[in-house]
Symmetry: C2
Subunit: 206 residues, 2 copies
DNA sequence: CAAGTCTCCTAACTATGTTAGATCAACCGA
DNA sequence: TCGGTTGATCTAACATAGTTAGGAGACTTG
């Protein structure tokens, strides 16, 4: 009747191996890029042959998906750890700063999470969920700061994404764009501020 | 002594075929994505077998490079065709509008030119040159409008890149972000305007 | 026409994701 | 303790990719 203990040991071993595989994949990705991951390399790094990985993942994309899920969980955890000070400008700066730091801390992870650069890969809904939740938190937070216009939120996320995009594309490893987080946030805040007290602007577009 | 005519005919035929190959590659890219290009498909579309392409290009990446060069030339032509009105805000809007339209008009081309999404590919200096020249024109134009702070230029390009990046990543084919070109430009202009008349700001960064 | 060059072909090599099928150990119920 | 089941791993092999080697045929050139 006691078939739980052994089952559990097996399951634990299994998820340990899965984690080991994912770690190996991250390692290779950081050395050779996301697209540089080959199943034979991953397998070798955990002491296996390539086909054996299929006992743990249905496909290479399933490995990407597990990596995506891990990254998305980290991102969500970081977002949830942000503690609002109450000062809108400070909170906006902290938010964008976190986003930019998260990106530069691990460019490969950012590439996997926020750019669509792996040819046939799309994250599963389960893996994507934490990312959605994080964005929802950001939306709610901006709304709490008095910025409820969806266009304003889009502009704010575009600012962050733009800084990172330019940084990675034109000066990887540098800070020519990422150091603009504060000015960018101030620019945004100055623009969006009047809308809080008075009727909305920004409806015109030629 | 007249070996020019035939030589020329041959050379012309050769560059015609090269152009045909590149066109076929663009076609496939628009149907199946940049990474979806296979030499066998390209060859079939011009009535050849894959190895025959090597008479015209040294490698698959050389085909990407030729495509990049073509796209960069188009971009430069578009930038050069922009005619300043003299009104700074209008000119800024037109500039960013052109950039965004160029991107949405042909996402695959934008992806090739401005994102680094093809695993082993990097454009050759010759192919890259027009892009550099275009950016130089943009820099000079902003400077002419009184925006000489390099940080301001970087902020401006990040804004454009961010709108497109978010648009492509989150709502391909839509206009949720690209329609923010005018508000974004106004935001930028309002922020950078004071610096034109008075001493510069934006030196602080914590 | 003869020699050379260019174009295109088939065959084949390598790398990569993936599948099929065998082997072997661990485990489980009797 | 023993036979059957399950699971992990392997080798062999396949399909698809870019790429190379080498040759056949056509065109150009003298």
């Amino acid at each position: 009747m006691l078939d739980q203990p052994t089952r559990n040991r097996r399951a634990e071993q299994r998820s340990r191996t899965r984690a080991e595989i994912i770690d190996a994949a991250w390692e290779i990705a950081r050395e050779s890029g996301l697209a540089g991951i080959t199943l034979r390399d991953v397998a070798a790094r955990v002491g296996m042959r390539a086909p054996s990985l299929y006992s743990y993942f249905d496909s290479k994309n399933a490995i990407y998906d597990a990596m995506f899920a891990e990254g998305a969980r980290d991102f969500l955890a970081g977002v949830e750890a942000l503690t609002p000070t109450g000062d809108p400008l400070t909170d906006l700066k902290n938010g964008m700063r976190f986003y930019v730091d998260f990106a530069t801390a691990d460019p490969v992870r950012y590439q996997l999470l926020f750019q669509r650069t792996i040819p046939g890969f799309e994250p599963s809904p389960e893996s994507y969920a934490p990312a959605v939740k994080a964005l929802e938190i950001a939306r709610a937070e901006l709304s709490r700061l008095g910025i409820s216009d969806p266009g304003a939120l889009d502009l704010f996320t575009a600012l962050g994404a733009g800084l990172i995009s330019q940084q990675f594309a034109n000066e990887p490893g540098g800070d020519r764009w990422t150091r603009l987080v504060d000015p960018a946030t101030e620019m945004f805040y100055a623009y969006v501020l009047p809308a809080r007290d008075q009727g909305n602007r920004r409806e015109r577009r030629q």
